[in-house]
């Protein structure tokens, strides 16, 4: 592997990310294979260059490779991507962003007074339009001012999903606590009850955090794809750290709760 300067490395990473984004939807092309070929091409083209290779030298090679958007003919993309491309590259490049924002405004202003179902349907449609627009843009920073049109439904939907994911273990715990209330007969004082309950809640939240982190690890790059554009900078090591923290919190809290329950109540 040829050594690149820091700015050249960033430039290459950006370029490969763009290439991946454009090739991803093509039915006839193996995106991983093309990416590997492009990397080999760059290595061959820079053979003999002084290392670390400067950004100027790398950019000259990338310029000859050309814009990845031109590599795959439009007719080879799936129908939905062609549709989105036409919407986005028509006379008004912001069309999809406007559609998304209009649906969102309609959801907030009109539908929320009419029915929750219509509100949910419009926000979902707005969310899908935003995701479609973003799928055509490899880097979220390229969205610039379009963010203001595209982000509101994404924040609402992701916020809702995040809320459900965080509240879910609490709801389960409440249900379980009600079911097994009699098992905690030993807990006479209010302090005892709250201490043990708090330990159980923290342990369960730690375990749940661990499960979420493990899911993110298993999904790998699909986690990034799932949470675009907010997870563009996501790295697997974050999930690993969260997994370790979650398990640590679960074990520590469970031990504290168990010790308190066994010896102090």
């Amino acid at each position: 592997m040829i050594a690149l300067s820091d700015s050249a490395r960033r430039s290459l990473d950006d370029y490969l990310r763009q290439a991946r984004a454009y090739l991803r939807g093509s039915r006839s092309v193996d995106a991983d294979e093309v990416e590997q070929n492009i990397t080999e091409h760059i290595e061959d083209a820079l053979e003999g260059a002084n290392e670390p290779v400067s950004r100027d030298k790398l950019d000259a090679v990338l310029q000859k490779l050309g814009d990845p958007q031109q590599w795959v003919p439009e007719e080879e993309l799936p129908w939905w991507r062609q549709f989105v491309l036409r919407l986005r590259t028509g006379p008004e490049d912001w069309r999809l962003s406007y559609i998304s924002f209009a649906l969102f405004v309609a959801a907030v202003v009109i539908a929320s007074y009419v029915s929750t179902q219509i509100f949910a349907a419009l926000v979902s449609a707005s969310f899908l339009a935003s995701r479609a627009a973003i799928s055509q843009t490899p880097e979220s920073k390229q969205l610039k001012a379009q963010k203001w049109l595209l982000y509101p439904p994404l924040i609402v939907v992701y916020g809702f999903v995040l809320g459900v994911l965080l509240i879910l273990p609490l709801l389960l715990l409440i249900a379980l606590a009600e079911k097994y209330e009699t098992h905690f007969g030993r807990l006479q004082s209010e302090l005892d009850y709250w201490f043990v309950a708090f330990s159980v809640v923290i342990a369960a939240m730690g375990a749940w955090l661990g499960i979420l982190a493990l899911t993110a690890l298993i999904l790998g790059k699909r986690t990034q794809l799932l949470l675009r554009p907010f997870a563009d900078a996501y790295k697997a090591k974050w999930a690993l750290v969260t997994l370790i923290v979650g398990l640590g919190v679960m074990i520590a809290s469970a031990i504290v709760g168990l010790v308190y329950y066994t010896y102090f109540t």
Partner: protein
């Protein structure tokens, strides 16, 4: 307006020609990706963006016209070589015949 028409037309011709040139290029011996690019870039006006070769190679592979093999290189890392399959040889022969026929007819029309 004329320039745009010409650009559109050359784009269409180039697309088909690039596939034909790639297949012909690896007809007699296996080559690695950058080697194919280096040879084809000598043909003026054929390649606008060199990266476009790789999706074509990937597609030709998926269609069964080319196959790849990894070979160690004396100068550097192992390289992926492309070569025609039997199906690819038949296809390139048909494409060459078609191209010769079209080219001949175009010449005769041009000469009147």
């Amino acid at each position: 307006m004329n320039a745009k028409f010409f650009d559109n037309w050359t784009n269409q011709v180039r697309k088909g020609m690039l596939e034909l040139c790639i297949l012909n290029d690896i007809r007699n011996r296996k080559m690695y990706g950058y080697e194919i690019v280096r040879r084809l870039r000598k043909i003026e006006g054929l390649i606008i963006s060199e990266g476009a070769i790789y999706p074509i190679l990937s597609r030709l592979k998926r269609q069964g016209f080319v196959e790849t093999s990894i070979q160690e290189s004396a100068e550097g890392p192992a390289r992926k070589y492309y070569e025609l399959t039997e199906q690819g040889r038949e296809m390139v022969s048909r494409m060459n015949d078609y191209w010769r026929a079209i080219s001949g007819v175009t010449d005769s029309i041009e000469k009147g």
